[in-house]
Amino acid sequence: MAQDLAHDSAHDHDDHDHAPTGIKRWLFSTNHKDIGTMYLVFSLIMFFIGGAMAMVIRAELFKPGLQIVDPERFNQMTTMHALVMIFGAVMPSFVGLANWMVPLQIGAPDMALPRMNNLSFWILPFAFTLLLSTLFMPGGAPAAGWTMYPPLVLQSGDSMPMLIFAVHLMGASSIMGAINIVVTIMNMRAPGMNLLKMPLFCWSWLITAYLLIAVMPVLAGAVTMLLTDHFFGTSFFNPAGGGDPLMFEHVFWFFGHPEVYIMILPAFGIISEILPTFSRKPLFGATSMIYAIASIAFLSFIVWGHHMFVDGMPMAAQLFFMMSTMLIAVPTGVKVFNWTATMWRGSLSFEPPMLFAIAFLFLFSIGGFSGLMLALTPVDFQYNNTYFVVAHFHYVLVPGAIFAVMAAVYYWLPKWTGHMYNMTLAKTHFWLSAIFVNVLFFPQHFLGLAGMPRRIPDYAVQFTDWNMVSSIGGFAFGASQILFVILIVQCVRGGQKATAAVWDGALPTGLEWTLPSPPPFHSFTVAPEIK
């Protein structure tokens, strides 16, 4: 890939750059495209590592009894699967997309803080080396869940300081990435592009970046307190010393709920870019879409208690968190209605990005419905910590966030590489993913309602059937993702030349389509004028 991009850009007239070549090009890169590519490749690798752990989980749960891993290893798998997927796959993939697309969409030559950009990426491989190395240590990887609740997490062995240091590094990386995006958007927009004219993807990322800056330090604080509790004799969360284990949950979910939206708001932005293009019709209610994202971001700070209904909470708090959580359905509903209205009386075609975007609409909505049900405190006493919750958040994260990332890759990959990809392979990948993601996660609703708790390595025999179905879906979904890698590799290596607008028959709007495919090494050396 390196040679290819370098080769293409070397021929470009606009390019007067003296970029280093070989490994130095990547290690010392200050270029938003190269760093974006590294983020995306990194997140793809993490998607497969986290996915491999999911395969272990699904294989163990294929039938009752323990066949593959002991319970401790199983807990390590669930914990690491979550950490790798959240911090390694979903978040870096969105940062990678922002790196690639924000300068292109606002008409800037590069990100505002290119050296910090390099640092924020290169922290990640070290963070994940630390985290993944715990798998091979005596005592194994962290096994107390990605939520790291004390006192359980304080029972961890050597993996705990590694986990905490890795989380600190990931947090630092995210904060730097977020600051970079805010500064770029605030200062480097092309003349005439006021905020309300800015593309929705940039808007969603601007708001996400503020969320990141607000909550990542909270997580850092929480895990630092865990560290001092474990090693320096403090008792923040240790009841034996007068500490409060529930305080950790409050602090964690004050981070954790905005974190959920950090993983979905950029997806909203992506869908808002793709649907208008292939409906050949501008986004319906663009301004209300922006207000909806902002409202969701604001509400995300006042709903954290809904993760803790079963932990014991005053009645007033139960009522407050229930109602604030239900309120989120309103702006989220506005978004879904606007997307539907965008397709209404459009002229639709079904290229791979559009297929993923449509699947997102349906399947994310299903995750939204189960979210609404979970918000109802009394019923949450039944749902909480069962597979119903697992089904809910996987519906919003897999056919939600991850389908959006795939839609984005299928949308912009020809722009990035200069080549069209294999449409048949892409559509095969889509149909296999869309079918098996439902075979994988839909039965988990049934398991949860029937009373199967989450995070258990073995289960009572009445849960066997749906677990088998879910596992089969899981293996098939996992295997289908190999097509995605094959497709990307093929597309990077060659293919039919892409035009500047790529989707000529459709209605791609935005500055990124005014540049050639692939764009020059420095995106806009002369700022375009926006009328």
Partner: protein, 310 residues
Amino acid sequence: MTASASDNRAHRPRGLFPDRMLKAAAALAACAASATAAANTSNGYNLPIGVTQISRDIYGLHMEAFWICVGIAVVVFGAMIYSLVKFRASQGAVADTTMLHSTKVEIAWTIVPVVILVVMAIPAAELILKMEDMRNSDLSIRVTGYQWKWEYQYMDAGAGIDFFSTLKQDSNYARELHSGVDPNTVPNYLLDVDHPLVVPSGTKVRIILTSGDVIHAWYVPDFALKRSAVPGFINELWFKVDPGKEGIYRGQCAALCGRDHGFMPVVVDVRTPDDFKKWVDEQKAQLKQAAAATPEAPGAEAPRSAQALN
């Protein structure tokens, strides 16, 4: 004894595949009275209706929320599917590019969801008030979670009764990695304990929940009860099983609590108040014997009148 019927009812194996159905039929044949009782607990893909007023209310709220979601889905997905079918470029559809926004429509689809949410929130709020009403309980039991077992300490009429409840030996053996035992041959695999919690039906039982080490959660689906056991904290909850619904009800720990989190079931044996009184008397007689055998042990707390139960 109704226990065996309910026992089976709570664990009615359910078949998707023919061979599983056969196994299920074989299991059912073992307990004759099961078929009539099957309606009350989970059918394998939905919440159990349960055996308390609260659990029925929760089931009702769950179904209400579910049908509201289905209704919204029909409208929204219907509009999406209509667009996908009707407005295809390949069918010559021409986009209406003037359709940018509509204040009227946008206000409508903000207000309507708010109204629907209020409709859902009112019964939910009422139910929260009901669930939080801990007054006038007839029997209190202190439940303490440990890695990986539960301790049940009775107060009121059962004062002095105190025991641990751990996974039954046959499950505990079968669940080992490469045990070679087929879990389908173990009765109530992973959901059976050596000493279940015994409670009377028709009685408001208050659970005082805490933990001795890490966070656990006490979960009985048929009572719609789940609450965390947090060290250093006390959580209160209550349930009142309908008279006539005596039997054995099973649940599990529902908060990740370490290696054997999946292996600390909650089993509640609900008996009639008379049978419960008999059980309490037996337990107390045993306690007395034990106290007499070891004179230096502190005497059991003076038993209060069991009349309180009625």
